[in-house]
């Protein structure tokens, strides 16, 4: 899996990988969703037109988290009745995958964390407290979101989704957790809320009139 470049099996355009371990990516030209199967790229679907994105972050944005640099290589976009948010897939300098969530310019960094015995989707409520990795978290909000699309490189196949429930949890010291009920068993992401300035982001989008 060391190959860093390939061609889109659909349109033949070159597909460049920023991260050699990517399992899935999208073709920037024909919007095909491409999944690595053995040594081949296989087209599994097509991304619908993504809505205009108000996020200042883009694929290729670099930043620093806990003194380690990272680069954003992909994203998953969700929508719900109160707006939308991006889960940016970050590849850290040590090769780990992390997620930078960006909801109305509020940011959190989290890592997929294996965890047994998460409450089922119908058992989780706002205000509920639970112990995750030795820390008590409080469920602050439940969001039923619609998978809206993907872009770029992801560490797993993620394309055949529809609606999913997310539980956001927080602590007094700005730790942050999300339980993603789109999978069974659900996935746990643990991390922390971060300030925009703390991430020292580079290669951001430019907005006209805002320099």
């Amino acid at each position: 899996m060391s190959q860093r470049a390939a061609n889109c099996p659909n349109c033949g355009a070159p597909v460049q990988f920023r991260w050699s371990s990517a399992i899935q990516t999208t073709c920037a030209y024909c919007r095909s969703i491409l999944v690595r199967r053995d040594v081949n790229l296989e087209r599994v679907g097509e991304v619908a037109d993504l809505p205009p994105d108000p996020s200042p972050i883009q694929i290729g944005t670099e930043g620093v988290y806990r003194d380690k640099s990272f680069v954003l290589v992909g994203r998953i976009l969700y929508e719900y009745e109160q707006g939308g948010w991006n889960e940016w897939h970050a590849v850290c300098q040590d090769g780990r995958s992390a997620w930078l969530s960006d909801a109305q310019a509020e940011y959190a960094v989290s890592f997929l964390t294996p965890h047994q015995g998460l409450p089922a989707a119908n058992q989780v409520r706002p205000g509920q407290r639970m112990m995750l990795n030795g820390v008590v978290y409080e469920v602050t909000v439940l969001t039923r979101a619609r998978y809206r699309g993907v872009e770029g490189e992801l560490p797993f196949e993620y394309w055949d989704k529809s609606e999913a429930l997310f539980a956001d949890l927080r602590t007094p010291d700005a730790r942050f957790a999300t339980i993603d009920y789109s999978e069974d068993p659900p996935l746990l992401f643990l991390g922390e809320a971060v300030g925009f300035d703390d991430l020292r982001l580079k290669n951001l989008r430019q907005f006209e009139g805002w320099s």
Binding site: D49, P56, Q104, A105, E138, R170, A174, F196
Partner: protein
């Protein structure tokens, strides 16, 4: 792959007036500035969410689209809402300005009767302690006292919002204060959001947004308005301590270094059994220099006995007399509790501000008729430091700190008068140095 974010110019689907969406695709609802209809900004046809606002139009003090600098970053005013609580049948309304920066996100400016707060939503969930008399909230090591809980209703909206806003939106708002900060917990049925505000003066807001004219004057004392006496109370008492210490030092120095010139010393004896005229006058002695104090000290050999001395310090040339008396009593012994002692064999009197001149003393001793004879010595010293002025100065020094403390307490009372705890006496921990 996605179209670029940009400011959009649209037309109201209700009245056709032009309107601007400034916060890109973050905006979920936008209010027509002309007909005040609330529109769904996500809908291509700008579906009307709410047709009219019953309340009277409110003119924001900062117009929509104004840019300013908050905490070093540029922000644009994109939304405005008025929220109202009802307490004891009285309605109280405050304004909230929604500020937007595409990188830093949203923040708020709130205004109530000329008092402003810079508010950000929190990434942390403060801990609430409801165990005590009043709930407290803790955030990053700081404790906030509960101020008020009320249901806030949105009574007017203008501009745009990253949520689906409606006139009539309701939320329970719990405020906790630790001036100059205020911690607010807002809960609707489905969500709880904490925010942290920091007090700003109108002048600071006017400066930040380069607004014309002057800000409205602040009325009363606001929940998290920093007390102008914070630190001052402690500071002024600290200053008082230093000055009082200096005063004591001055007193000690004066006591050590003033002249204390001995001008007269002589031994006498007195026997009450002798009878006859007991009063006598001493030789003349001279008091020199500027008017200053003179000390008359009497030292006796009294033991388990007492004597009374009537003195007059008399100017030999003018006849002016200073009359004073001193009782000397000296008793001691031993009982079941051990040795005891009362009084002493000597005493002194200081006559202040005696002008220079030639003086003598008239002395009239008195004892019990049957008492044994007593020997005593009279010593007169010039320029003995009088420390009375020090006590007056110490008293005067107390006035400013007491004055400031009282003002701080009054400020604190005015702050809490607007809270849920207005009826309680405000000396339960909130008085003293208000902070």
């Amino acid at each position: 792959m996605s179209a670029s974010a940009q400011v959009r110019a649209l037309n109201c689907s209700s009245c056709g007036a032009p309107l601007t969406v400034r916060a890109f695709q973050h905006t979920l609802s936008v209010v027509c500035g002309n007909c005040l209809s609330v529109l769904d900004a996500k809908d291509p046809n700008l579906r009307v969410l709410q047709r009219f606002q019953e309340r009277q139009r409110v003119l924001p003090r900062i117009p929509m689209g104004t840019r300013g600098k908050v905490r070093g970053d540029p922000y644009e005013v994109v939304g405005f809402q008025v929220r109202t609580i009802t307490v004891d049948g009285e309605q109280y309304s405050w304004s909230e300005y929604l500020l937007f920066n595409p990188y830093k996100g949203f923040r708020y400016l709130t205004e109530y009767q000329g008092h402003w707060n810079d508010v950000v939503t929190l990434r942390n969930v403060p801990e609430v302690d409801t165990g005590g008399q009043r709930p407290r909230a803790r955030l990053l090591g700081e404790t906030y006292d509960h101020f008020q809980t009320a249901e806030a209703e949105t009574t007017f909206v203008l501009g745009e919002f990253p949520w689906q806003v409606r006139v009539g939106d309701r939320a329970m708002v719990m405020d906790f204060v630790s001036p100059p900060r205020i911690l607010s917990r807002e809960s609707t049925g489905s969500e709880t959001v904490w925010s942290l505000g920091e007090y700003m003066t109108g002048a600071q807001v006017w400066q930040a947004f380069q607004l014309p004219g002057g800000p409205p004057a602040a009325q009363g004392v606001f929940a998290n308005q920093p007390s102008p006496y914070t630190g001052k109370v402690r500071g002024i008492w600290g200053l008082w301590g230093i000055l009082t210490l200096l005063l004591v030092l001055v007193g000690l120095l004066a006591y050590t270094f003033t002249g204390r010139e001995e001008v007269f010393r002589r031994m006498y004896s007195f026997s009450p059994r002798a009878g006859g005229e007991v009063s006598f006058v001493t030789d003349v002695f001279e008091l020199k220099g500027r008017p200053s104090s003179a000390e008359v000290k009497v030292s006796t050999d009294l033991s388990n006995n007492w004597a009374y001395f009537q003195f007059a310090l008399i100017n030999a040339d003018t006849g002016q007399a200073y009359d004073f008396g001193r009782e000397v009593s000296h008793y001691f012994g031993r009982d079941s509790d051990g040795a005891w002692r009362e009084g002493g064999p000597s005493d002194s009197a200081t006559v202040p501000a005696v002008p220079a001149g030639r003086y003598y003393l008239r002395v009239e001793p008195e004892m019990d008729a049957g008492a044994a004879a007593m020997r005593y010595e009279l010593v007169v010293r010039r320029d003995v430091p009088s420390l009375g002025f020090l006590f007056i100065a110490a008293g005067l020094l107390l006035i400013p700190p007491i004055f400031t403390t009282v003002r701080a307490v009054v400020f604190s009372q005015r702050r809490w008068a607007e809270s849920d705890y207005a009826s309680t006496d405000s000396d339960d921990g909130d008085s003293g140095d208000d902070d």
